[in-house]
């Protein structure tokens, strides 16, 4: 088998390749980079924990908060409805459209029935909105007679 002189020379050459030493200050830089990385990880972990806590609060507390907002919405509709009703009663000088009165009474009946069976905000809110619209219509006509409206 013939000698592969190129391979031998190559091997010889590669065996002579030098080794290199890194800068003496490199370890200090590595150590500092590692410490920085650890600090960043701890900070990221704190942010993550805070994010998880916020998410937990959102899941647990937010539905309650939403309920409060619904309550507030419902209360504001009730207040608006009652204000319109006072306004309408204060006018009380014209003959009314009986169809509008019947509409208002119908809404009041449905509201009363809803309260009686303990209906939730989702059912009550549209009824209060309808009541506001009915009262708006009555006031707009400005000719309705004084009627006793169920006070809710």
């Amino acid at each position: 088998m013939p000698f592969d002189t190129d391979a031998l020379r190559r091997r010889e050459l590669l065996s002579h390749l030098p080794q290199f030493d890194p800068d003496p200050g490199l370890w200090a830089r590595i150590d500092a980079a590692h410490q920085r990385q650890m600090r960043e990880r701890r900070a990221a972990w704190r942010w993550l924990s805070a994010g998880l806590a916020a998410a937990l609060v959102a899941v647990v507390v937010l539905p309650r908060g939403t309920g409060q907002r619904n309550d507030e919405d419902l209360a504001s509709w009730q207040r608006r409805s009652q204000a319109l009703e006072r306004e309408w009663l204060a006018r009380a000088h014209a003959a009314g459209d009986t169809r509008l009165h019947a509409r208002l009474l119908g809404i009041d009946d449905r509201l009363q029935a809803a309260y009686d069976r303990g209906a939730g905000d989702a059912e009550l809110a549209p009824l209060w909105k309808q009541r506001i619209e009915a009262l708006d219509d009555l006031i707009a006509r400005d000719d309705s007679p004084m009627r006793v409206v169920t006070r809710l």
Partner: protein
């Protein structure tokens, strides 16, 4: 021909390193940093780039040594990380400048090679970076073409082809250098 990754690490030191013992970690660096740096330098040929590789590798070692399972020797694990980090630098298509030879010479540790070490280094530097990488990893660090294919994300034939061309070119350069030396002697 190993550039120092073959050094053994005893179980006690490894256990202490896993626990984050800084003195042991520093000793680990002292023992293996030359091997890492040499590999990166031979492939990249640029001190700053090679130091970045060593820094990346050792920061990763410090972060992950706790999970090192010792299925393979520590040196082999470290060598693989160094090789991968070096290939990553090549993949980012960095253009390496030919660093001033004299300044690189200053960081060489003369293993008795003297002038022939400098000559060998000069010849290696004339190969393209990828060819150098395949040559160094295959011929000096002992990786198979299958392993190289995996590291480079290419086929085995890619690695074989690069190596064949690199060797041919190296042989050509050695012949040229030999011819020049003969001519000079004759003159």
């Amino acid at each position: 021909m190993s550039s120092g990754f073959g050094q053994e690490l005893d179980a006690v030191s490894l256990a202490r390193a896993r626990r984050g013992d800084r003195a042991v970690l520093e000793a680990l660096y002292a023992r293996y940093s030359r091997a890492c740096y040499t590999l990166a330098m031979r492939v990249l040929g640029e001190r700053a780039a090679a130091e970045d590789v060593v820094q990346d590798v050792f920061v990763r070692v410090l972060s992950t040594i706790r999970d090192f399972r010792a299925d393979a020797p520590f040196g082999a694990w470290l060598k693989r990380m160094t090789a991968n980090a070096t290939i990553d630098v090549l993949r980012r298509n960095r253009r390496f400048t030919d660093e001033d030879f004299e300044s690189v010479l200053a960081t060489m540790t003369d293993g008795g090679g003297g002038e022939s070490a400098a000559d060998a280094w000069l010849l290696l530097r004339r190969l393209p970076a990828r060819a150098r990488a395949v040559l160094v990893l295959h011929e000096l660090e002992g990786y198979t073409h299958r392993e190289l294919a995996q590291m480079f994300g290419q086929s085995e034939s890619y690695s074989k082809s690069i190596l064949a061309r690199a060797l041919k070119r190296l042989d050509g350069m050695m012949n040229e250098a030999g011819d020049r030396a003969e001519t000079n002697d004759a003159v």
